[in-house]
């Protein structure tokens, strides 16, 4: 494989020894590797570097691995992600798969198995991309999402609402997706910040409130008495509709 075709792998792992060991092995397998030692840095590298695959630890300083995963899945549903964690309970694994991980390995792990799983995930991703390329024209597999009199087309980022057609910003789209995925479930401000923005706890939650005000202005009949984006006292926000 020449340098151009090398697959990029992002490793999000906080233990320096393990990170270096894995990076060493992946490099020896001719992959290009970057290591991020916490979730926030991981998200940053993911955005800037566009890796082909992510190896993710769950217990991370700053924002937790699960939040990193959810954040990535809001924007990219297909990127292969492998969780490599010391947590081995079925509930942890199920939680990971519910949030959209592709593979899950528990520490301590077998190196050979790990490398083969990575290889397989990358191969499948390659096939998928080739298939997509051959099926040009049908790229918009997402149907517009409708609630009340509003319609959102996530592939174009356009929303039809009572104010006419508006172009949504990237952050608004992310927040909307987050609400739609969790329809009917209350989301706390800090959770919204963590998943939607990738901020760690302790950052001002005003940002969230400002965005909610905007979404209400777009989609609510009466922004003062919202029917879709409701506030729940001391809990946060809840999105729901018929």
């Amino acid at each position: 494989m020449d340098a151009v075709n090398r697959k990029r792998i992002l490793l999000i792992e906080d233990d320096a020894h393990i990170a270096e060991g894995i990076a060493l092995n992946l490099t020896l397998e001719e992959y290009e590797v970057k290591v991020a030692e916490n979730g926030i840095q991981g998200l940053k590298v993911w955005k800037e570097w566009c890796p082909h695959l992510i190896v993710l630890d769950l217990m991370l300083p700053g924002i937790d691995g699960r939040e990193v995963l959810k954040n990535i899945r809001l924007e990219d549903e297909r990127l292969p992600i492998l969780i490599l964690s010391a947590k081995g309970d079925p509930s942890d694994k199920i939680g990971g798969f519910v949030d959209g991980v592709d593979d899950y390995m528990t520490k301590p792990f077998n190196l050979e198995e790990f490398l083969l799983r990575i290889k397989r995930l990358l191969t499948r991703d390659q096939w998928q991309q080739e298939q997509d390329a051959s099926l040009t024209g049908h790229t918009t597999d997402q149907k517009p999402y409708t609630f009340g009199e509003n319609q959102i087309d996530f592939s174009t980022g356009l929303a039809q609402c009572r104010n006419g057609t508006i172009q949504l910003t990237e952050q608004e789209i992310k927040l909307l997706k987050l609400f739609i995925v969790n329809k009917g479930k209350p989301l706390s401000r800090s959770k919204l910040l963590e998943i939607g923005w990738g901020y760690s706890k302790g950052t001002s939650t005003r940002t969230v409130d400002n965005y909610i005000v905007r979404l209400r202005r777009y989609f609510e009949k009466d922004a003062k008495n919202p029917t879709y984006f409701k506030s729940r006292r001391s809990l946060g926000y809840i999105f729901d509709h018929e």
């Binding site: 060991g21 060493l24 916490n38 217990m59 300083p61 520490k107 301590p108 792990f109």
Partner: protein, 326 residues
């Protein structure tokens, strides 16, 4: 997961039994008063001397009933409090097992990873040495964790016949630092000692070493500075000798000053999750200091402002023979 019925919750049961008890007290008294008024009418009808029976007896009975109910109430409250505490401890233990297995898994994973890598690839000698060094560090981490658990078990069994010797605290600390200097490389440890002053107290050597090890490694571990600073100073009053360890580390909320010594307690600060630890260190320190009939107090001006641990031990007179300090 199946949610148990809310009325089976201990708090609900507690409230129900108190209501039931209060109600029964009310009914006892109510019925007693009713019966005695009945009795009174009978007495009046039969022209017996009423004062003989009723007046004071009524109040004695009510008082005795109230006292009995009071005792039962106290019993319920005690049982309730114990139950809560046991439950809290159980939860803490569960958390501990989780964090402890994680603590063990991390070095194990690293060891396995490097061993497998070396089996698979022929690495240049310098790299091999580097990774061998990593592996040794991981083994040291494992040993530390295992020793921690063993020490805990030993302490909890309250080993009979812990031997105490009278030593100079300053000497003890200096000696400890000299022996473990390599562990604290990269941090600045300052021992404030005055030449002619000795601080004698009675300690068990091995256990006290553990206290120092825990306090000093905490000061380094929970520290975000490039060069952690630790200041050790001594003072004494008529009855006590005090050892004061001050660091410039992450500190803690004032409200947590007592909690840090609880078994399995760990400050739930996001940025600290990577610092590891099992929540046992300070609990053991506290236990050991108590075993020495002393006490330990933690102080901090708040997160990020460093912490101070003051160990007070009973002051002892040195052996009369062969001591240079007076």
């Amino acid at each position: 997961m199946r949610r148990p019925f809310w009325f089976l919750h201990p708090v609900a049961i507690f409230i129900f039994s108190i209501i039931a008890l209060g109600l029964s007290l009310f009914l006892y008294i109510y019925w007693y008063v009713e019966v005695s008024t009945g009795l009174k009418t009978v007495i009046e009808k039969t022209n017996l001397n009423p004062e003989q029976f009723v007046a004071w007896q009524t109040w004695v009975v009510i008082m005795v009933l109230s006292i009995l109910v009071g005792i039962i109430l106290l019993g319920i409250i005690v049982v309730f409090i114990y139950q809560r505490k046991t439950q809290a401890l159980y939860r803490a233990q569960h958390r501990f097992i989780n964090s402890f297995t994680h603590e063990l898994k991390t070095p194990t994973t690293s060891l396995q990873l490097y061993l497998e890598t070396m089996t698979k690839h022929e690495l240049p000698r310098e790299k091999q040495l580097k990774y061998l060094h990593y592996m040794l560090e991981d083994v040291a981490r494992l040993t530390d964790d295992i020793n921690g658990i063993l020490n805990l078990a030993r302490l909890e069994a309250k080993v009979a016949g812990v031997e105490f010797v009278i030593v100079d605290l300053v000497e003890e600390v200096v000696e400890f630092y000299r022996k473990n200097e390599q562990l604290f490389r990269g941090s600045e440890i300052l021992v404030n000692k005055s030449e002619d002053q000795c601080y004698y107290c009675s300690i068990n050597h091995a256990l006290f070493q553990m206290v120092l090890m825990n306090l000093l490694s905490n000061a380094v571990r929970y520290n975000e500075n490039d060069r952690p600073q630790i200041n050790i100073s001594f003072s004494q009053t008529e009855k006590m000798v005090q050892l004061c360890i001050t660091d410039n580390g992450v500190g803690f909320e004032k409200s947590q000053a007592k909690k840090v010594f609880k078994k399995f307690f760990q400050i739930e600060e996001e940025s600290l999750t990577h610092a590891g630890g099992t929540g046992l260190g300070l609990y053991m320190v506290d236990q050991v200091v108590r075993l020495h009939k002393g006490k330990i107090v933690a102080q901090s001006d708040g997160p990020g402002k460093g912490a101070q641990f003051v160990v007070s031990l009973p002051r002892k007179n040195p052996d009369l023979n062969g001591d240079t300090c007076s």
